[in-house]
């Protein structure tokens, strides 16, 4: 694992010739065919496309949740396409923040504890973990909801907690899968505004899958995926 590889000045994410096949019931399904893609540091990319186009698969590959069948993926100078699952887990913990459509908070933990979760994998002391979680919650404007359980929060608030959890480790990359898919227009705009703010003011690189053109408008650029290939 080489997360500390020196900044080589190139793009943050470098994807070369990536394909992805699945087997389902003996049948081979080819989801991605030869993707080449560069995502520079500080970018905010919206990945669009109809269902089944492979956008979530591509996002999972970038976030290190899955490995490509062929091709290379380099993030921040580190090759992640060949990593074993344990190394990949460590890499994710250090480098990537995730935001999902259904927030995926742990219902039994308070907002504060949910945000603290990724920090459990670091060497930080309990006090330091609490402090950082508080900062992250403040950043998303929920410092007064720290003790609440997810079910006591609104959908928008839950998603903001999820974003706080994603950024608490200060990752180089924020990966969002339909982050506004379950929210109404106004709340969705709030969440997207938050992502924009993180991108502009903190330089966080954001990759976001969405099928909503209005959401995609918040990104710096849009990529369209169709039947497993990038449509420029």
């Amino acid at each position: 694992m080489s997360a500390e590889v020196a900044d080589n000045g190139g793009p943050l994410v470098e994807i070369r010739g990536v394909t992805k096949h699945y087997r389902r019931g003996g049948e081979r399904i080819e989801v991605l065919h030869g993707i080449d893609l560069d995502i520079p540091r500080g970018d905010f990319v919206a990945l669009m496309g109809p269902s089944g186009s492979g956008k979530t698969t591509l996002l999972n590959l970038i976030g290190g949740l899955d490995s490509p069948t062929t091709g290379t993926i380099t993030v921040d100078g580190a090759r992640i396409d060949q990593l074993a699952s344990g190394d990949l887990a460590r890499w994710r913990a250090a480098n990537v923040g995730f935001v999902f459509q259904f927030y995926n908070l742990l219902p039994v933990l308070s907002a504060q504890r949910n945000v603290e979760l990724p920090l459990l994998l670091t060497d930080l002391s309990a006090g330091e973990r609490r402090r950082r979680a508080a900062i992250a919650l403040a950043l998303v404007g929920l410092e007064d909801r720290a003790r609440h359980k997810p079910r006591e929060l609104s959908g928008g608030q839950e998603q903001r907690v999820a974003i706080a959890r994603a950024i608490v480790t200060d990752p180089v990359l924020l990966v969002c899968d339909e982050p506004t898919g379950d929210l109404d227009r106004v709340t969705a705009d709030e969440v997207l505004g938050l992502l924009q703010m993180l991108n502009r003011e903190h330089g966080t690189t954001v990759v976001m899958v969405t099928h909503d053109p209005k959401a995609a408008d918040h990104a710096r650029r849009q990529l369209h995926l169709d039947k497993g290939t990038l449509a420029a």
């Binding site: 899955d66 344990g86 933990l109």
Partner: protein, 388 residues
């Protein structure tokens, strides 16, 4: 340590379910604690046995009597440092047959032999001095509300007085006690002074039930036993001498099948618990597949997620097991109060605790491994996409 809150949160995700499961685990371990205490009580005789004590009984039947004259002859055997004797009185108290054991003894010799019994020097002196004297175990004294100095009317089912009367009367002059619960069980008895008894009894004068021999070196037990038995070989009263422990173990073994039965009951209990808890754990993990996927997404490795699930199962069993053993422990004083003197004291031994921990860990593993393995193999992409 930092993962403990996470494990606890997972465990108590559904409070009712977890509390009910904990309660059933607790009941199982309480039963374990109590039944083991019963077994320990059966075996307490062997625990309290002294390796430097031998017992000499009539060779063919422990109920036959031996001549009192043997005492002096046994004392001549090299390695023997003390000899005492005792005889079964066959007591009937308040019309209850064998309400408690009563032994006819030579006070000084007997109390010298059983140094583990606590008695004050004044009471001991009174017992030696009083020809009609008797001493009783603390638990019996409490149970019957006896007082020092009172008359104890005890009938014998074996020994009539010279005039044929079976009703005897003794003076309670002392109380025996012991700190060690294994020893305390042995004080559930009444000792009576042989002096007046032997003078007054109708038959069996000059004879006693068995001898207790103290030896200097426990490694010589076999040799000395053989030497004692050789003394009386080919006489009308042949003897059988064996270490006290062997005697007690042999007695405990006579209970035989009941002990095996208790083990089988416990096996059934723990099997039921295994099924019950296993199902709960599996159900709980099944419901939390998406949450486990999130943990993995956040960078928790497969091994760590597996450990969390196992930790949850282990904690469930250890909490329930600990509570159950605690409950058993809390119940024992009350049980001992009600059975006082009728049954040896029940107590939880160290080995019971160790076995309890082993069972809890083993059950935790058995219950936790299937869902843990499931969590281990869980693929984030599938789980998040809703494929199970």
């Amino acid at each position: 340590m930092r993962f403990v809150p996470l494990i606890l949160a997972g465990l108590f995700r559904k409070k009712t379910r977890t509390l009910l499961t904990l309660a059933s685990v607790m009941v199982a371990f309480m039963l374990f604690g109590l039944l083991q205490a019963v077994t320990a009580a059966f075996e307490s005789g062997a625990d309290a046995a002294d390796a430097k004590r031998l017992l000499t009984t009539a060779r063919y039947s422990i109920i036959e009597l031996l001549p009192l004259s043997y005492r002096a002859r046994i004392e001549t055997v090299p390695g023997v440092v003390g000899v005492a004797h005792a005889e079964w009185f066959g007591a009937r108290y308040q019309n209850e047959s064998n309400a408690f054991p009563v032994f006819v003894v030579d006070p000084a010799r007997y109390l010298d032999m059983y140094r583990e019994f606590d008695i004050t020097p004044e009471q001991r002196a009174a017992f030696e001095r009083t020809r009609t004297g008797a001493v009783a175990g603390r638990r019996l004294v409490d149970r019957y509300g006896w007082r020092l100095g009172q008359k104890l009317p005890i009938a014998s089912e074996i020994h009539p007085k010279a005039d044929g009367d079976m009703n005897w009367e003794f003076d309670l002059v002392g109380i025996l006690d012991a700190d060690d619960p294994a020893v305390r069980g042995n004080t559930d008895m009444v000792l009576i002074n042989v002096a007046l008894f032997d003078e007054t009894r109708q038959f069996g004068k000059g004879r006693t039930g068995w001898y207790i021999i103290r030896i200097a070196d426990s490694s010589q037990a076999k040799t000395i036993s053989a030497a004692v038995d050789r003394l009386f070989a080919n006489s009308p009263d042949e003897t059988k001498t064996q270490p006290e422990k062997e005697f007690a173990v042999g007695f405990a073994k006579q209970i035989g099948d009941i002990g095996a039965l208790i083990s089988r009951i416990l096996a059934a209990v723990f099997f039921t618990i295994l099924i019950l808890t296993g199902n709960t754990m599996a159900q709980s993990i099944r419901e939390r597949i998406p949450e486990l996927a999130i943990l993995k997404t956040l960078g928790f490795s497969d091994a760590r997620v597996t450990a969390l699930v196992l930790g949850e199962a282990g904690l469930l069993l250890l909490l329930g097991g600990g509570a159950g053993m605690g409950a058993a422990l809390a119940m024992l004083p009350g049980l001992n109060q009600t059975t006082g003197g009728r049954f040896p004291p029940l107590y939880v031994t160290e080995s019971t605790w160790m076995i309890a921990v082993l069972i809890a860990v083993a059950l935790g593993l058995a219950v936790g491994l299937p869902p843990a393995w499931r969590a281990h193999r869980l693929r984030i992409v599938d789980a998040l996409a809703g494929h199970r």
